[in-house]
Every structure is written in C-alpha cells, then in structure tokens.
C-alpha cells in the first residue's frame, strides 16, 4: 500500500483512536478511582492477544483449532509452577511460557496437521482436553483447585510489574507487538503461502511449497503468542487452574475471533472487546447473560458473515 501518511491515518483512524484510548485509559481510571475498569481492560487486552494468535491460524490459515486455550493454560502454569518453587524470575517464566507453548504446538501440530477438516477440529480439541485432565490430576500443583501465585514475574530493577498500572502498560505493549507481528506475518511471503494453503492447498503444493512445514511453523508461532497471553494472564489473575484451558474457553476464543471478523487484523481485538463488554454490562443486569451471548453467537453464525469487522468494512466500502 503506497498511500501517503495522512491518507493512511484517515483510513485507519479508528485503530489509532483505539490505541490512544487504551494508552490514556489508566489516567482516567486513576483520576476517577475506578480500578475495576483497569482489570476489565487488562483482561480484554490479554484475551485480544489470545484471540489474535488464534486468528493467525484460524482466520488466515483456515486451521480451525478448538483447543487454543490450552496455550493460555501453559503460559499461566509457566508462571504458577516456578512460583510454587519460589522462582519468580520473569525471564525464566517467560521463556518457559513461550518454550512450553511452542513445544506443545510443535508436537501436537505434527499429528493434528496431518488431518483435515472436522478431524483437525476434534483433534486440537482432544489434545487441549488431555492437558486439562493432566493438570487436573496433578495433585502437587493443586489439581482441580489450582494454585495461587503470590508474586508477579520479577524482572529485577528493570521493570516492576507488581504495580498494576505498569502491568497494564506491559499488556498493552504486548498487544501492540502481537498485532504488529501478525500484520507482518500475514503480509510476508510466509503469510502468502499460509493464506494460499487455506484456499487451495493442493495447488500450493503443486507450485512447489512444502505447505506442511509452513503450516506447522504458523501453528507453532500462534501457540507461542497465545502462551504469551497465558503468561500475562497468570501474572494478571495471580491464580491459575485447569479451568483456564477448559475447551469452553477455547470456544469463547473462537467466538471472539468470528464475532470481530476472522482473517482481519483487528477483528479479534474487536471481538474480545464485545465479549468483555457484554460480560461487564450484562452480568451487572442478569446472571443469565450467557443466554444472550449464546443467542448472539447463533445469529452471527447464520447471518453475520465476516463478523463486526466485516460489517465495518462493508459500511466503509473497503473491498
């Protein structure tokens, strides 16, 4: 895209406005003394990272993973298990989160990606459920009840995230980095192959691309990004349990991606915002808010091609 900077700004003003709002939010929240909303925004951004990572394989790569929340769990346990042994080194925890998620994605990806369509969906689901039950059965780390994390990741004097506002900016930075990375990936040569393999894999293979390796690499990157979200989630909630990787959590991630618009850069973030927004507003009014979410999802599945992001694009007349 060779448009000049003002045009670029004019076309993408909602995104820039969104960034400004996110960066300025802590000031407003501190001013009105509403720490609750700081938590809401942090959860929103962490889920947006997770949903964006899922979008990378689901939206762009056509790999419908119904077990993506397992990486949130892995990332969170990478904070919780070291903390259980009084190891709070942030570098160690982060490496564990990214490494653990990457290795899990690599090993399961080798098997999952041999399958197609519905099989892929069910296998990703099953592997995630396997981790869920594994952590449920490990009594040492709390089993069903999970673990409380008493201190957040420690980066020495470099960066202290015990302070929630600093954690907030760390989360915001991670979200922006994730979006930038996804943007770079899907517009790279690598991303072209991934998107090509989504629409016509035999053709991509015939052209000479070893699509399996490309898809596997994409699957691993996506898993690691979601592991990052999990690492943030562990730090944010200060509590981990197998419930974080229950398959219904993965279903919620898929809902966010599709609600916002799969295969668009900002769709998952919009979806996460809608999801958290509904939860925050409706849960105040009724404990049965899942009923409305469920009905919304059914309607979106039938009528809402492209989700809210698609709707926005249609309104703006882009593509």
């Amino acid at each position: 895209m060779s448009s000049s900077t003002p045009q670029y700004l004019a076309r993408h003003w909602p995104a820039f406005a969104g960034v400004l709002v996110l960066l300025a939010a802590p000031l407003a929240i501190t001013y009105w003394d509403q720490p609750f909303y700081l938590d809401v925004l942090m959860r929103l951004m962490i889920l947006a990272i997770a949903a964006s990572s899922l979008n990378l394989i689901l939206g762009y790569g056509g790999m419908i993973s119904l077990g993506h929340s397992v990486y949130i769990g892995i990332g969170a346990y990478a904070v919780g298990i070291p903390a259980y042994y009084d190891q709070y080194s942030g570098v160690l925890q982060l490496l564990l989160a990214l490494g653990g998620a990457g290795i899990f994605a690599l090993v399961t990806g080798l098997i999952c990606l041999r399958t197609r369509g519905a099989y892929f969906i069910m296998i990703t689901l099953a592997f995630a459920q396997m981790m869920y039950f594994t952590f449920v059965s490990i009594e040492e780390y709390g089993g069903d009840d999970g673990l409380v994390i008493y201190a957040r990741s420690d980066f020495g004097g470099l960066f202290d995230v015990e302070n929630s506002i600093r954690l907030y900016y760390l989360v915001a930075a991670c979200l922006l980095l994730t979006l930038l990375l996804v943007h770079r990936i899907v517009n790279s040569h690598f991303g072209m192959v991934i998107r090509g393999a989504k629409s016509n894999e035999p053709r991509m293979r015939a052209v000479g691309f070893p699509t399996f390796r490309y898809r596997l690499a994409c699957y691993v990157i996506s898993g690691m990004l979601c592991g990052l979200a999990g690492w943030l989630m562990g730090n944010f909630t200060g509590f981990i349990s197998p419930e974080m990787m229950d398959w219904t959590r993965s279903g919620e991630l898929i809902a966010m991606v599709i609600l916002g618009g799969s295969g668009t850069l900002l769709g998952p973030t919009i979806g996460a915002a809608v999801f958290i927004g509904m939860e925050t507003v409706l849960a105040e009014v009724t404990v049965y808010w899942h009923l409305y979410l469920g009905l919304l999802l059914i309607l979106v599945a039938k009528f809402g091609r492209g989700g809210l992001g698609g709707l926005w694009q249609r309104i703006r007349g882009v593509r």
């Binding site: 689901l58 419908i64 119904l66 399961t108 098997i111 041999r114 399958t115 197609r116 369509g117 519905a118 099989y119 969906i121 069910m122 296998i123 689901l125 099953a126 592997f127 459920q129 396997m130 039950f133 594994t134 449920v136 059965s137 490990i138 009594e139 040492e140 398959w247 219904t248 279903g251 898929i254 809902a255 599709i258 799969s262 404990v287 049965y288 899942h290 009923l291 979410l293 469920g294 009905l295 919304l296 999802l297 059914i298 979106v300 599945a301 039938k302």
Partner: protein, 307 residues
C-alpha cells in the same frame, strides 16, 4: 493385581463404553450424513438427565419417567433441528461450531433458569439397587449391568436399523449422495430431522441412565462430549461400527488405566514415581491412543466407504 478387581473394572469400563457409544452414535450419524459438527450434542445428555430426574421425583417411578423422557428428548432434538441446526447444514464447519457453542450456552443457561444452579439427584427403585453375582464370588451392581445391557441392545438395534431396513438404506444413501436420494423423490430434510432426533434420544438415554449414579448437573454433557469426539475420531467419523468399537476401546482403556496403571508402572519405576505419575498418565491415555491411531490412520480405524 487381583482378578476380582480386574473383572469389576472391566465391567465398569464396559459401562463407560456403552454410555460413550450412545453419545457417539448420534454424533457420528449427524456428522456422517449431514456433515454437521454438533458441539451441543452433550446438551441432550444433560436434558435427558434433568427431565428424568424431575419426572422421577414427580411421578415417583423411574420406569415411567424413563418412558416419558425418551419421547421428550426426541421432541427437543427435533425442535432444535428445525429451529437452528437445519439452517446451518449449508454453512461451513466454523459457523456450525460457533452456532452450536452458542446452543450450549443457551441450553446451560435455560437449565440454570429452570432447575437452578444445584444438581438434581434421585434414588433408584429398590429392585435396581441390589448387587448380583456375575462370577463366583464377584458381586456387581444390578443397575450397572442393566446399563451395559441396554447399551448393547441399542447398539445391535441400531446396527439392524442402519443395515437392514428401508430407513437405514435411505440414511446410508443420504450419506453417500444426498442429491441423488433427493432426485429419487425422498424428502431428505425430513429424514435429517428424524436422525437428529434419534441422536438426541440416544444421548438423552445415556444422560438419564448415568444420572442416578452421579447426578443431573449443568454442563455435565460438555466433558463427556469431548471423549465421545475422541471415540468417533478413533472409530472413523460417520461409522456406527467404528463408534461402537471405539467407544468400548476408550471406555476400557480409560477405566483400566485409572485403576491399574500405578501397579504396572511400579514394575519399571520406583513406588513413589509410579504413584505420582500414574494419575497424569492415565488421564492422557485415551488421547495418546487417539494420537497414535491417527498418526498411522488419519481417517480413523473404520472410515466409511464411498466418501
């Protein structure tokens, strides 16, 4: 390991197996014929359990409740098909997942509204409460034997219906070439509704049979559903025979793994290592089995022919 425990655990494994089969049969039929992924299938399992629990408490008769619950879940299944599922056959899998995930949320919340957050329990009638001697010196609860028998009967019945009857022929024909069947003048949509309802009844039956042992609770179908998915993936999606053998295999391996794995591990590991690792490994067993089978046969053990 002692042989009494082994026999009992094999029977428990069979019981889990037939329950899984009842769930997997509907899933695999619906998927095989309509190419539809139904995440909300476990909701029928839950609905069956709640209907039966309530009716048993009202009518004071488990048998009457059972006989009323089956047609009720049939109706619920067909209504869901007509209202929601029917409109999604043409959509791709992603939309189906989203919609049926939405259905789960709706079903769980409706149950919450109607029955409250607590689970429901009810007692079995006296005759079903006893134990019977299955082998000299080995007692096993009558009710669990009944579950196994009912499950096996349904499996045989379903096999006969699918392979020997006209409806079964249409189901198989619809699975391999839907347009051709329609061209021959069969209202395939009507058939789909019936099959979906039948799947719901089988899931409801599984739920109502397990309810007296555990309880009827919100979301009870969501966990076992995943195991049912493992079953049909192992068996080959769309195959009744695959679902049956897969279900028994998964039921037995899961149950036996949980009770005997620590003893087996003790042969190769230290006592303590065996005891700490056994629960985690036995929780993973069926998934490892699935991964191994898929690595060699990505279509499962009995992929249906002609697709």
């Amino acid at each position: 390991m002692d042989s009494t425990l082994l026999v009992i655990q094999i029977l428990n494994g069979l019981q889990l197996g037939v329950l899984l089969f009842l769930l997997a049969a509907g899933l695999t039929l619906v998927f095989g014929i309509m190419d539809f992924i139904n995440l909300a299938h476990g909701s029928f399992y839950m609905v069956g359990a709640f209907f039966c629990a309530t009716l048993t408490l009202w009518l004071d008769s488990f048998l009457l409740a059972l006989l009323l619950t089956l047609p009720l879940t049939f109706v619920v299944g067909m209504v869901v098909e007509l209202l929601v599922v029917r409109h999604l056959y043409q959509e791709d899998h992603l939309q189906q997942i989203l919609a049926t995930f939405g259905l789960i949320l709706v079903a769980d919340t409706l149950v919450h509204i109607i029955w409250g957050p607590e689970g429901l329990t009810f007692a079995l009638p006296e005759i079903l409460n006893g134990q019977v001697t299955v082998l000299p010196g080995i007692l096993f609860p009558v009710y669990r034997i009944l579950i196994i028998s009912v499950g096996l009967l349904i499996a045989v019945g379903l096999y006969i219906v699918v392979t020997q009857t006209r409806v079964g022929m249409l189901i198989r024909a619809g699975a391999s070439n839907r347009r051709m069947v329609e061209a021959l003048g069969v209202d395939i949509r009507y058939l789909f509704t019936l099959v979906f309802g039948a799947g719901a009844v089988m899931a409801g039956l599984a739920g109502l049979m397990i309810a007296p042992i555990t309880e009827a609770s919100i979301g009870m179908g969501n966990e076992i559903l995943i195991v049912a998915f493992v079953v049909i993936v192992i068996g080959g999606v769309g195959s009744i025979k695959g679902a049956f053998l897969g279900a028994l295999l998964v039921g037995l391996i899961d149950t036996l793994g949980r009770s005997f794995l620590d003893d087996m591990l003790k042969l190769v590991l230290s006592n303590q290592a065996a005891e700490t690792s056994a629960p985690a490994i036995s929780a993973m067993l069926i998934y490892i089995l699935m991964a191994a089978i898929l690595y060699f046969r990505p279509q499962g053990l009995f992929p249906p022919k002609g697709r």
